[in-house]
């Protein structure tokens, strides 16, 4: 692991810790939902750095699948906050 990848992991871990702080301390439920959405996007960055480090291709597949599922989860959370049923 080169210095660049170590620094990249450090920055992403720091960003994730800030998101986790907002998830734990967020005064309202929408704060937590927004922080969960951001954390999902940060995981895609983690997958990219893993792909760069190991040179393996399947980490990018994981990133695509994670982005899809994170989007669906965000829409479900938005519906929940709005107080509507999930099929409307």
């Amino acid at each position: 692991m080169t210095l660049f990848e170590q620094l990249a992991f450090g920055v992403l871990l720091l960003s994730s810790l800030l998101c986790l702080f907002r998830i734990s301390r967020g005064p309202t439920a929408p704060d937590r939902a927004v922080a969960i959405d951001i954390l999902g996007t940060l995981v895609v960055g983690f997958c990219c750095i893993m792909a760069l480090w190991t040179g393996r291709e399947f980490y990018v597949n994981i990133a695509i699948a994670w982005a899809l599922i994170s989007f669906v989860a965000t829409l479900a959370l938005a519906k929940y906050l709005e107080g509507r049923p999930y099929d409307a």
Partner: protein
């Protein structure tokens, strides 16, 4: 030379991610936090993916390049959409804006949406819908 350009892409993307998450901590209410964090983290992650795609090309891995670019396009489409839906849900759930906010452009529309959802079975609206559809067909 070209490889260092793509490493710079990734470094700038990481910086954007970090600044977005600092905005998530520092800003006063959920609307400010959502706009700061979503814009910065979307751009940052797209830059990381673009840098990864370039590095994959310079290392002769074309499939990884295409997948990373697809993922970047997907995030560029879905992340703002998801954040918009979340913030709309937060507003309709009744969360107030920060007291220092200067404009509330969604207030009228939110009022209308709440009225519609509280009276779903009004007798006039289906007939109106039928006449509008007939007018559209004749026109």
């Amino acid at each position: 030379m070209l490889e260092s350009v793509f490493y710079w892409f990734i470094a700038v993307g990481l910086a954007f991610d970090l600044f977005g998450c600092i905005g998530l901590i520092r800003l006063p209410d959920v609307y400010n936090r959502a706009q700061a964090a979503t814009k910065c983290v979307t751009l940052g992650t797209c830059l990381i993916l673009t840098g990864l795609a370039g590095l994959a090309v310079t290392r002769g891995n074309g499939a990884m390049c295409v997948k990373a670019l697809l993922c970047a396009a997907f995030i560029l489409l879905t992340s703002p959409t998801g954040a918009h839906a979340l913030v709309r849900g937060a507003y309709l759930s009744g969360l107030k804006l920060w007291e220092g906010s200067v404009e509330d452009a969604f207030a009228d529309r939110a009022e209308r949406i709440r009225n519609e959802s509280s009276q779903p079975a009004s007798p006039a609206s289906p007939e109106e819908g039928v006449t509008h559809r007939e007018e559209a067909e004749t026109a």
